[in-house]
Symmetry: C2
Subunit: 342 residues, 2 copies
C-alpha cells in the first residue's frame, strides 16, 4: 500500500547506523565485528519497515541478479514439453531465483535477440531448451556466461540435460517381453532418416538403439517395422491400418510416441481389435493423451519436469561438470499391455 519503497537507507536511519552496517547485517556477514545490539536494531528496523532489497541495484554491484534466462524454441508454449519449464520454474523458485522466459520459434534472428535481451538484464546464466532433443546451434555468447543446454547438446556449451533414451528404449521392449510377447511385435514409427540424422534428433537415435539392443539381447525380432515421416496421430492411424490389412499375426505394437499410439488405437478399433486383449500397445513420452485413452496407454515417460529441475540445479551448481546429464525415463504402467492371447 505505501507508495514509496523502503530503502536500505531508511532501515539504517531508523536503526541509527550507517547503510554499510545495515547492509552487512542484513546479508548475515560474520566477519563484521558489529555488536549484537546493532544486529538487533537493524533486523528490527528492517522487519518493522518491511524492507525488501532492490535486486537490480544489488546486482549492479554484485553482478548477481538471482535471475536466469530461459530461452527456448517453443517449449513454454507447447504442451509437449511444458514440463521442462514447470520443473525449471519450481527449482528456480526453491533456489530463490526467477526465470526470464523467452521464445524464439527456432528463428536464428530471434535467438540472437533473445540472448541480447537476457544479457542486457545481467542474468546469472542461460538455459537453452528445445522441444525435440537435438544438437542446437547457439549464437555467440560471452565466455563467462553460464550455459546449460536442456534437451539439447552443443559443442561450445558442454553442460547438457537429456533424457536417458537408451535405457528408455530398453524398458519399452522389456515391458512387452516380460509380459510374454515374443512374436508378432510391430515397431510403429521407426524412421531411417531420423535414426541416422543426428542433427534432427540426437536422442531419438538413442531410443531406437536401446530398443534394438534389448530386442537383440532377448533374441527377439520385430514381425514388422512400419516407418513414417512424422509422428502425428494420423500417421499412426494410416500406418497401423495398412499393417493390419496385410497381417493377422500382430500381437503387440511398440510405438515411437504416444501420438502415434493414439492413431494406432483408432486403427485397431476400426479393425475390431481390442487393446490389450487382442493387441498390446506400448509407447513413449507420457503425453497427456496417454491417460485419456481407454484403456490407458502404458508408456515410457519423457521426464520433462525432472529435466527442467536439473537444468536449473546444474546452472546454479558452482562446480558442475561438463557432459551429458541423463535423466531416467520412468515407466508409466496403465492398461495397454497383457500377455498374448492363446
Amino acid at each position: 500500500m505505501p507508495n514509496k519503497r523502503v530503502t536500505l537507507a531508511d532501515v539504517a536511519r531508523r536503526a541509527g547506523l550507517s547503510t554499510a552496517a545495515a547492509s552487512m547485517i542484513l546479508n548475515g556477514r560474520t566477519d563484521t565485528r558489529l555488536s549484537a545490539e546493532a544486529h538487533a536494531r537493524v533486523n528490527d528496523a528492517a522487519a518493522e519497515l518491511g524492507y525488501r532489497p532492490n535486486v537490480a541495484a544489488r546486482g549492479l554491484r554484485t553482478r548477481k541478479t538471482l535471475t536466469i534466462g530461459f530461452i527456448s524454441d517453443v517449449v513454454a508454449t507447447t504442451r509437449f514439453a511444458s514440463g521442462l519449464i514447470q520443473g525449471a520454474l519450481d527449482a528456480a523458485r526453491k533456489a530463490g531465483h526467477v526465470l526470464l522466459v523467452l521464445e524464439t520459434g527456432g528463428d536464428p534472428a530471434r535467438e540472437s535477440e533473445a540472448i541480447a535481451a537476457v544479457l542486457d538484464r545481467q542474468v546469472d546464466g542461460i538455459i537453452f531448451g528445445v522441444m525435440r532433443a537435438r544438437e542446437l546451434f547457439v549464437p555467440d555468447i560471452p565466455q563467462a556466461t553460464n550455459v546449460v543446454m536442456l534437451n539439447a547438446s552443443n559443442k561450445k556449451h558442454p553442460v547438457s540435460v537429456l533424457p536417458d533414451e537408451l535405457s528408455g528404449g530398453r524398458a519399452a521392449v522389456a515391458l512387452l517381453a516380460d509380459a510374454g510377447h515374443r512374436n508378432g511385435i510391430a515397431l510403429i514409427g521407426h524412421n531411417e532418416e531420423v535414426e541416422k540424422n543426428l542433427f534432427r534428433s540426437a536422442t531419438v537415435g538413442q531410443r531406437i538403439a536401446g530398443i534394438r539392443a534389448e530386442m537383440a539381447e532377448r533374441g527377439l525380432r520385430f514381425a514388422a517395422e512400419e516407418s513414417c515421416w512424422d509422428w502425428e496421430p494420423h500417421h499412426g492411424y494410416d500406418v497401423t491400418r495398412a499393417l493390419l490389412k496385410d497381417r493377422g499375426d500382430i500381437r503387440a505394437l511398440l510405438c515411437m510416441n504416444d501420438r502415434l499410439a493414439f492413431g494406432a488405437y483408432q486403427a485397431l478399433a476400426d479393425h475390431g481389435l481390442s487393446v490389450p486383449h487382442d493387441v498390446s500397445v506400448v509407447s513413449f513420452d507420457n503425453d497427456e493423451l496417454a491417460s485419456y485413452l481407454r484403456p490407458g496407454l502404458t508408456t515410457v515417460a519423457l521426464p520433462h519436469e525432472a529435466m527442467g529441475r536439473s537444468s536449473v540445479e546444474l546452472l546454479l551448481d558452482h562446480d558442475r561438470r561438463p557432459g551429458h546429464h541423463l535423466i531416467p525415463m520412468p515407466v508409466i504402467e496403465r492398461g495397454s499391455i497383457l500377455p498374448p492371447a492363446g
Copy 2:
C-alpha cells in the same frame, strides 16, 4: 566473446565526449544541442564497440526495466492455457519487453512470494493469469503498480482480459441450429454449481448464459441436459454412455468443452453411432485434442493467444481504460457437424 561488457563510459571515451553526451545521443534526445559531429562520433563508437546498455542500471535511474511480471497459477505449464503465455511472450517481445514468469499453483503463500519476487526486480507491471477464468484473490500490491488480470477479474485491479463467452455460447448453438438441428440436442456438462458459483468460474456462467439465450431466441429446447462435476474425458464418457442407454432420439451433442467431447466420442463409438452422420458434436476450447479426433471436432475456441497478447498491450498502454476487455471466440469448423439424418 570479449569478456568485459562494454559500458557507456567506454563509448564516451572512444568518442572523446562525456558519458552524459553519449547517453543523450544514444537515447535520441532532441532537446540537446549536441552537434551533428558529436552524434556521429558517439553512434560510430557505440556501433564499433557493440555497446548494449545495462538495463538494470538504467532502470535504477528511470524506474523502467522493460520487464513484466507474469504470475499465474498453472498457466505456463499446462497445455490448457499455454496460448496465454505464448501470446504474452510475443507481444512483449514486439514491444521490447521481457517476461518474468512465475507460477504459484494457486497457493496464497506462493502468490505473495511471487509478487514480492517480481517487485524486488522492479518490474514495469504485473499480469495475473489463471487457467480457469475466475475471480482471483490477489494479495496487497503497492498502488502504483500496473496490473492486468488475464482470464480473471478482481475488484481492486479492474483491468482484465476475458474471452467473450456470451457470444461464444451463442455461436455454438448457432452452429447446430444453422445445420438444421432442432430436436434431439443434448447439453453435456452443464453444471448447476458452476453456473451459479461465480467465484469458481465467472466466464463459464457466461458461456451457459449465451447458450441459453441463443436457444431461447431460436425457440429451441434441449432434449436432455447431462450435468457432471468435472469436465475430464471420462466424465464425458460416463455421462454420454448413460444418456444413450436411455434415449434413442439424440441427434446432436453440445459439450461444454473438448475433453468432455473426447469422452463422448468414445461413448458414441461404443454404441455404434457415427460422428457426424448419426450424431453431430460441437464443443468449446479448441483443445489440441480437437484436431486429433476423427472426424475433427468443430469447436468454439478459447482465444488464448489473442488474450495473452492483449494483456501485455493493455499493460503497456499508458491510457488504458478499466473494465473487462472481451476477446472474441473464433469458431473452428472441422468435421463433426452435419444436418440431422432422415
